[in-house]
Point group: C2
Chain length 332, copies 2
Amino acid sequence: MADSKLDSLLDRFAKQDRLALARLITRVENRSAEVSTVMERIYARTGHAYIIGVTGAPGAGKSTLVNQLVSRYRAQNKLVAVLAIDPSSPFSGGAVLGDRVRMTDHYRDPGVYIRSLSSRGHHGGLSRAAREIVKLLDAFGYDIVIIETVGVGQTELSVMDLADSTVVVTVPEGGDGVQVMKAGLNEIADLFVVNKADRDGADRVKAELELSVHLRPPVGWRPLVLMTQASNDIGVDALVVAIVRHADFQKEHHDPARDRERRTREFLEVLTSELEERTERALKNGAGGADQVLGEVREGRLNPYSAARRIIEDHAAISRLLDEGGPKSVRQ
Amino acid sequence: MADSKLDSLLDRFAKQDRLALARLITRVENRSAEVSTVMERIYARTGHAYIIGVTGAPGAGKSTLVNQLVSRYRAQNKLVAVLAIDPSSPFSGGAVLGDRVRMTDHYRDPGVYIRSLSSRGHHGGLSRAAREIVKLLDAFGYDIVIIETVGVGQTELSVMDLADSTVVVTVPEGGDGVQVMKAGLNEIADLFVVNKADRDGADRVKAELELSVHLRPPVGWRPLVLMTQASNDIGVDALVVAIVRHADFQKEHHDPARDRERRTREFLEVLTSELEERTERALKNGAGGADQVLGEVREGRLNPYSAARRIIEDHAAISRLLDEGGPKSVRQ
């Protein structure tokens, strides 16, 4: 993409053009070489949105709950974006689409933006793409950004790092699978929701979750456990209030050292994935600097570890690869 | 670790010292800086083991099935290693430990090596660690390496790329969650197993899986669908035969172009994660070259994208970081 085209897209983005937003998100999804340039240009405008993560097992009613949250925030006249990380596939397409369809209430509301990000084919890159899309939504002007994921797997969990408040949704009848997932989820939850609370066992699950909260070291925020029936719109107001309480707690206990830590961690992620993406791009485009090494690896004459060492320790070779994989503007 | 200590560990590894194997695996798990050196040294001895991946939802009976497979291969006098990727946590500890305990049959057998790799705290690095541990087990001399994962999440799925044959285990009563998981699993399966086949619905699940196989494009291997009752030791022999059939099929249809592709992909993974790990290590140890940039990021005066660009495009800075994060021997 020529720089002028990117400039015009960014201009339209700054003027609240939703189509420009959608196009930039698509570029992030496709990992185009301009992503870092885009992020550099919009970064100063980020930091205003409140990010809410909603996660839990499939079938816990996350989408219905998110739908209700969107209505509440719209009633407060806030602009809301939803990023749904879908474990999408032709096989499960039905179920997942079903969830999305429930969001149709809001599709026509210009104050709501809904986007799905497929969790497939991203490998380690999913959390980077999610983080950058959240930054775009934030910079665009959304007050609330809700990230919805199915709480399975490390990658999906790591997406929840982005949230200011993480809501973990469970249901009374959770079996083995839910137990296992609670494992990872337990530690990231700021708020627990027992949804479908009219079903048998809701009190027991609530008590279990409260116990797990009380077993935590008594420092910092203590996760609240709420009961909802999202499909009957019961308990949603209390959830909104709980999110405000958590946000207030964080403001009151604001710790500049944690900000510095968070910034350092983000930088490390950006730097390492930028190294990774530039190298991958350069090698896929047949990078000159690494031709010979690559050929030997391909024929099985050189093991990948010695090959990597040979390239990394040859400063000219690695610099050339990193330049070749960079945004076009760099090479102009 | 001094080079001489590493040398002695590698010597003992070459002499089939299981303690040396265990120590090297621990180093891989902890991402010590010597990992690439270890891999360079053992790489030539890899390529002999047959790698079997076993995956499926929690509670599908994977561990029992793996236990039975181990017995069969031991009866053939083969050396067997099992790498179990656990979604371990204090919370789910019980269930997971329960599974492991069933493997006690084999704990005292010197021809069987069992190791768990926690899926926590690895982020994108889990598949690299798993791949390297499999290489260690292969180089050590195991004939069969079985990787067992809970089939959830992208990272856990990507581990299955390592397998020569991937066995996806399902159960008759799989609900929503299983459906969703089948999604990703469907595409990676070489063999489907409907375990607990004495339960209601087994025939229906078998028919569904067979349909999904027939909907695939008619090229290459067509996944077989088998029925087992692992806990009654029924159907396991047929599974062993099916794995042999799949191995034979791959031998007969051996495609050198795919080997070259696989080698290129592995090299790309090693190169990019080596870049990532060296940079991370250097920055965590307070790398001199990036001090000023890191300081500005930490205080929020520089956005992470501009900071990354500044370091990557300064060839001296990035080279210095990569050297500082490399194995100690490099700097001697």
